[in-house]
Structure formats: C-alpha cells, structure tokens
C-alpha cells in the first residue's frame, strides 16, 4: 500500500505514472462503484461503468488542474458517465414505476432471497433500495453523493455542478418521494 499523500500520487499520475494511478484507483474504487451502482441500479452495469470512469480519468488526468480536489473531479466523471449511460440505454424513459409487489434485489448481490427468507430489516432495506432506484436520475445522484458517500451539500454541489440550494432541494424532494413510496413498510416498522 502506497502511503503517499493524494496530491503527490495525482502529480505522478499526471506524468504518466501507472503505479500512482493504480493507488488512486484503490483509494477511490469503492466510492466510484457505489455511485455507479446507485445510478445504474445493478452490479454488472455498475462494474462496467466504474471501469469506464477510471479509464476516462486515466486519459484525462493530464488535464486535471492540481489546485482542485481530485475526488470531486473523479466523482464528477462517475456521475456524468453514469448519467450518460442511463441516457444511452433509455432507462429513464422506460423506468418502471414503483411497484410495491415487485421483489427488489439488494445492490451488490445478484441473487435476491425470497420475501419469506428476509428479515423485516432486510425487507425494508430492499424496499428502500427499490424506491431509490425509481427516483429521477438527478435525485439519485444527489442521494448517492450525500447519503451513500457522506458528502456535504457544498461538496455534492461541486461534483454535480449546481448550487448547494439545488442539492438541498433535491434531497428534500427525494426523501419526500421515498417516504411516500414506502409508507406501508414504514408504518409496519412503527408497530
């Protein structure tokens, strides 16, 4: 494991250092895959997208400005690549509306267990993931950055290229939609 600070790795990668870039990949692969998974909705596409993100980053790292934050730059590539992918596949147009009787797969696992095998918490988690997957893409992107990756509104705004207020508003709307969509499960959990 390379202990060098990120700025030094980025500088090496800009000069064509593959080892330095490999270390940057190791440091950010989980987060990039997480963003791609949240936006693509399935592990196989997320894996491909994450590969594409790092390939794009490698090709463009020479143009990265050393004054800015590397992870902001990388996450922006991840979000843009994922959104382009969604556009390409026309998933946003054909996205199935929320169906509470449909079984949702837990992200990261290909075989989802049957409802009878799930604990109540797993059931709720699956419903939440399913409801998040049904959110509009830009809401999902904000959700992935703020909730999954723990970014502040300011950092998420930098990644998404919008204002903090926009991120705050999207988060509010996304949560309102999620709460409305899984209300029966939440009521069940309250009892």
């Amino acid at each position: 494991m390379d202990e060098r600070p990120e700025a030094s790795l980025v500088a090496d990668a800009r000069r064509g250092g593959r080892e330095a870039f490999a270390e940057l990949v190791r440091r950010h692969e989980r987060r990039v895959c997480g963003i791609a998974l949240r936006l693509a909705g399935n592990a196989a596409d997320a894996d491909d997208l994450a590969q594409e993100v790092f390939l794009t980053a490698w090709k463009a790292v020479g143009s990265f400005r050393s004054g800015s934050s590397f992870y902001t730059w990388l996450y922006r590539i991840a979000v843009n690549t994922s959104l382009s992918f969604l556009k390409r596949k026309g998933r946003e147009r054909n996205r199935a509306p929320f169906d509470e009787n449909r079984n949702a797969a837990v992200p990261g696992s290909d075989a989802a267990p049957g409802p009878e095998d799930r604990s109540a918490l797993n059931e709720l988690t699956a419903r939440i993931d399913e409801a998040i997957a049904a959110l509009p893409a830009h809401f999902r992107a904000s959700f992935a950055l703020v909730v999954d990756q723990g970014l502040s509104h300011a950092d998420a705004a930098r990644v998404l290229g919008c204002s903090e207020n926009t991120v705050s508003w999207r988060m509010h709307k996304a949560r309102k939609l999620l709460q409305a969509r899984i209300k029966p499960f939440l009521e069940e959990a309250r009892r």
Partner: protein, 191 residues
Amino acid sequence: MRCQTARKRVSDELDGALPSGRGVRLEAHLRTCRACRVYREDLERIQAGTGLAEAPDGFWTAFERELEARLSAEEAGRKRVEVPFAAGRRWAWAAGAALVLAGVSLWLALPRPGPAMIEEAWVAADDILDPIVRAVESDPELAGRIDRELQASIEEMSPVADPLFWESLSDDELRAVVTAMEKESGLGGPQ
C-alpha cells in the same frame, strides 16, 4: 413554521446542513406537530436502512486486474494509432511548408509594374495619340466633324436632356453651380 418548511429542514438536518438557529425553531415546531415528528422518524429509518452491500471477496482484486488490462490495452492502442499518425503529420507539415515556400518564391520572382514601367506605358500612349492629334489639326473638316460630335455628346449628357438632373444635386452642389454661373455671367459681384 409551516410543515412544508419544517420537513425541508428535517432533510437538511439529516445531512448536517441545518444552521443551529434554524434547528431551534425546527425543534419548537416538532414539539407541537405530531405529523412532522412521524415524518422525521420515517426519514431516520430510511437513512438507517440505506446502504450498499459489501462486495464479495476477491471482487476488488478482480476489478483492479481488469482495469489494469484495459489500461494496458488502451495505451498499446494509443501507441499504434499515434506513431504512424505522428509520422504522417510530420510529413504533412513538411509538405505544407514546402508549398508555402514555393509560393513565396514565385511571388517574389514575378515581374511587377514599377514606376519606370508606368512611365514607359504613358510614353507609349502618347506615341499612339500624337499622330492622331496631328492628323486632326491638319484637316479642318475632320476637326470640325469631331467638334460637332463632341458637342452633340455633351448636349446629350447635359442637364437639359435629363429633367431630373437638378433634383439629384445636393444643396452644396447647387450652391456651387449657382456661384460658378454667377461668376461666368459677371453677376456674382467683384471677382
């Protein structure tokens, strides 16, 4: 505080984006509004139930290996494409430079009319006109005929022939014409 505002602030609070002053007012609203309290509990439950499953063992090693292979292939492909193209581009630049050089040389080598040449042309025109003028001067009948033709052509172009001639003149031009006529007729006062 309206419930709508309170719910937006609940969302901001979950993201750690609520200023403390607003938090106090939010708490005051929540103490009196059961629906908003339930809403906050629901959002907290959603937040707790949100998370991406851990990737299976060996996933990241395989991911890094695949990316490494793709980066190597990308670089090999780039070299294959860039080297012949770069050589071709050098040839193209060389050919372009040679063409420009040839064009400049040709332009410098071409004979252009200098002051001496213009004078020669003027003298040549004099040489042509001189015998004509001498012939006209020696033949009074020919001179008379030329005078008549000149007079006729002047009359044809005179203001009398074109009723709109005066209309087309500006005030300054009209004043100049009047002054010239007055001078000619001796009515314009002392010269």
